[in-house]
């Protein structure tokens, strides 16, 4: 079951990322201790970085999906070619 193993690895990776994300999310859920007013403002994230990450993720998702499609199409074409050759060798006409 190599396919199942690979999928389990992928699911593990997604679960790990989700756990990390939820840890980050809950870290921002309200204050757990007193914060003096002069120490506020340390929680700012530069907007440019967030923007770049957002665009990079969108591009990456598209590129990875196109690559997966290209790999699947290549494998199918290769296997169809092999089967056509086997059918031809056995004297049958491939459809």
């Amino acid at each position: 079951m190599p396919g199942l193993g690979r999928s389990c690895c992928r699911m593990g990776l997604v679960a790990g990322l989700a756990a990390f994300a939820s840890r980050t999310v809950f870290a921002f859920q309200g204050a757990s201790e007193f914060v003096p007013a002069d120490q506020l403002g340390q929680n700012t994230v530069p907007g440019g970085v967030l923007l770049l990450v957002a665009y990079a993720v969108a591009w990456l998702a598209v590129v990875v999906y196109v690559w997966i499609l290209w790999r699947r199409a290549g494998r199918i074409e290769r296997e169809l070619g092999d089967i056509a050759a086997k059918l031809a060798a056995s004297g049958r006409r491939p459809d």
Partner: protein, 210 residues
């Protein structure tokens, strides 16, 4: 597909010309990818649901191929929405995630389509019929995702924001929507072709066994 990729390459240059929103500044430009991806996630869920319905009614493999392709694209574009949204929210709301109606319903809908794909992958023979029912369920959830911001009190902007955009922001947005739609159509057609090839391969293996 090549045309869509060229349009998408041009998108950051078009978006760069758009003015930044007053309160959020530069990060508001995430909007130009987040909104088209969200539109296509919802549209694709409808494509999957309708194709699933057609498959359940007539059992034509073509409808099943379209449903499978659309479900995969819901997951891909939904992932873009679910990642770009929190990046924007971190700046706009000060938190990555809030358990409010729009965000939770989007996550639930995305997980329904992940379940659809898992069912297709590991469900064994006959899984396409069960998956079609899941696809219908996913389509039924998507109107609630859209209307959630109007039905319940949420932090997410309502659906009235888009019509109120000035033309300097609306034009880049519709350019990005057009680029994403072209990309979506290209990916859907390619994925359907791959599914058709997969079906031909399965038939060829059966012919070889006979």
């Amino acid at each position: 597909m090549a045309f869509a990729l060229v349009m998408l390459v041009g998108a950051p240059f078009v978006v760069a010309q758009a003015p930044a929103e007053a309160s959020m500044g530069l990060v508001s430009k995430i909007f130009y990818f987040h909104v088209p991806a969200a539109m296509l996630t919802l549209s694709s869920s409808f494509v999957c649901g309708l194709a699933s319905l057609a498959y359940l009614a007539r059992r034509r493999p073509g409808a099943d191929h379209v449903a499978l392709a659309a479900a995969e694209l819901v997951v891909v574009f939904g992932l873009v929405v679910l990642v770009t949204g929190p990046l924007w929210a971190r700046k706009a709301w000060g938190v990555w995630w809030v358990w409010e109606a729009r965000l939770v319903m989007t996550l639930v809908m995305w997980m329904i389509f992940v379940a659809y794909l898992m069912l297709r992958r590991f469900g064994g023979p006959g899984a396409e019929v069960l998956a079609a029912a899941v696809g219908l369920f996913g389509m039924a959830v998507s109107p609630f995702v859209y209307w959630s911001v109007n039905l319940w009190r949420t932090m997410h902007p309502t659906t009235s924001v888009l019509p109120s955009l000035p033309s300097s922001m609306a034009l880049p947005l519709w350019y990005c929507v057009a680029a994403f739609v072209c990309l979506y159509v290209g990916l859907l057609l390619t994925r359907v072709r791959v599914a058709r090839g997969q079906a031909a391969l399965e038939r060829a293996y059966l012919a070889l066994e006979d």
